[in-house]
Symmetry: C2
Subunit: 279 residues, 2 copies
């Protein structure tokens, strides 16, 4: 009976694709989410800066007494997971391993595609992870940075979105795959368009949704799941950007008409957190 | 680069459904499997005896220097996982949690069925596990002990098998489900027949296959995966029963024409192991 919340962080609203699946699969686990809209996108930033920003979001969540941290952002996972995990005494989960495992499980032809931000694709984290487990799998990586802004600007159902997605995925006509990892938590909002372009025969892997399987596994393994079924947690959502913009997209995506995110100022909070941590 | 093997135990050949998926998803991880054919089925036995037998198989595998133990048997998981896990210093994985998690993920109507041995159904382990995570899911459990002997007697493609499966699954006509957990590692060998009886609209959950996801997750989490892709392990298979019978079913099921299981005598080995453990 561990009612402590699980913390989720992302550069923007994309990480809510993980939260959506968490709310469905683990309805009795309290969610605290923070999106760093003020500084997105993370994709084009140098790894050092992504690590710094991810630490700041992590400190904010640790103050909320979380029992597990989910880095619900592919760019931040690629850059910061291996740095942050050994320094915390709670389980830390990223989105790249769950997505890689799911792709290995799903592919029949052994041809797997990956789309992600420039940062994620440049890190080669997915391909390396997959090949470490199974070197026979052919991986075709394509950077798809434009897809993030389509989502963050709430244009993910527009005609422009269809055109951009079709152009971005064109390389897969030359290099067919039977499994495509949506290697950025923003992409599942574009799922119907991506599926349409790739064709029904291609299995789309939602790394975020797969991540909830790992969260669930570790909750059980470390025996820290909340098993009070009468507990209906009040989830908390924070953004460093516009709360109104966040409420619109997040409310729509999560089906929460009463979504009220709180805008926070990390710059104001961080010195305070640092001082406390030094004590 | 951890080349130590992963140990799998089962009452019979059923656990090979887990191994089959492990060989596919984790080709560089060495498998050591032991099936207790001499004493199957475990389903009707009292829990105390199942715990005792599971300990014996566990000791055999620990002597092989395994880095992880997979209790690839639902009856043994229900009875012995919670007893064995805290006593070993390696990760111990059962099949019930992975199957439960997969069903929660898959169901859309919230109506989930479970078939298992008498021991598994009597333990109520699946229903309890699912309800601890999500009390809104309706669980309909059906004991299906006859299905195990169909598999162990190599009759799993026969006309009799079709008749027995149809009779066993009849309760689901009155209580429709959209997801059915095959809660015994023997059942996936009957998958085509089960799918045919249940209809295409029902998602069948292979607890064993789902267990490999947990194995893969924990290998990564504890950083004990073998990442030498040039390592082509020679897997080892042991049975307490007829090696010839085992080779026939296992070779057929795993597609290994050169399967050569070794028959072992636990009774002869156990006193030796006990003596060493007391020292």
């Amino acid at each position: 009976m561990n009612k402590q919340p699980i913390g989720y962080l992302d550069s923007g609203v994309g990480g809510l694709t993980v939260v959506k699946e968490a709310l469905r699969q683990l309805p009795h686990e309290k969610v605290i989410f923070i999106g760093d809209q003020a500084r997105l996108p993370y994709g084009p930033r140098p790894a050092e800066q992504v690590i710094e920003f991810t630490w700041e979001l992590t400190h904010f969540l640790l103050k909320k007494n979380i029992k597990m941290l989910v880095i619900a952002c592919n760019t931040a996972t690629a850059a910061a997971l291996s740095v942050i995990r050994p320094k915390l005494n709670i389980p830390v989960v990223g989105v790249i391993l769950p997505g890689s495992r799911a792709a290995i499980k799903a592919t029949k032809t052994g041809n797997v595609g990956i789309i992600g931000t420039n940062g994620t694709i440049k890190s080669d984290a997915y391909a390396r992870t997959i090949h470490r487990k199974n070197q026979n799998i052919q991986v075709t990586s394509v950077a798809a940075p434009k897809l993030v802004s389509l989502v963050e600007s709430n244009e993910y159902q527009s005609v422009i979105a269809k055109k951009v997605v079709a152009e971005t995925l064109a390389p897969y006509k030359k290099h067919p795959v039977d499994t495509l990892i949506m290697g950025c938590t923003h992409y599942p909002l574009l799922r119907p368009i991506i599926q349409n372009v790739m064709g029904d025969g291609v299995t789309l892997i939602d790394s975020g949704a797969e991540t909830v399987s790992e969260v669930s596994t570790l909750l059980d393994y470390f025996d820290i799941a909340n098993d009070d079924q009468n507990y209906h947690p009040e989830h908390e959502f924070y953004t460093t950007g516009s709360a109104q913009m966040f409420d619109t997209i997040a409310g729509d995506w999560l089906g929460m008409s009463q979504m009220h995110a709180e805008k926070i100022d990390l710059k104001r909070l961080i010195p305070q957190i640092s001082m406390e941590m030094e004590q």
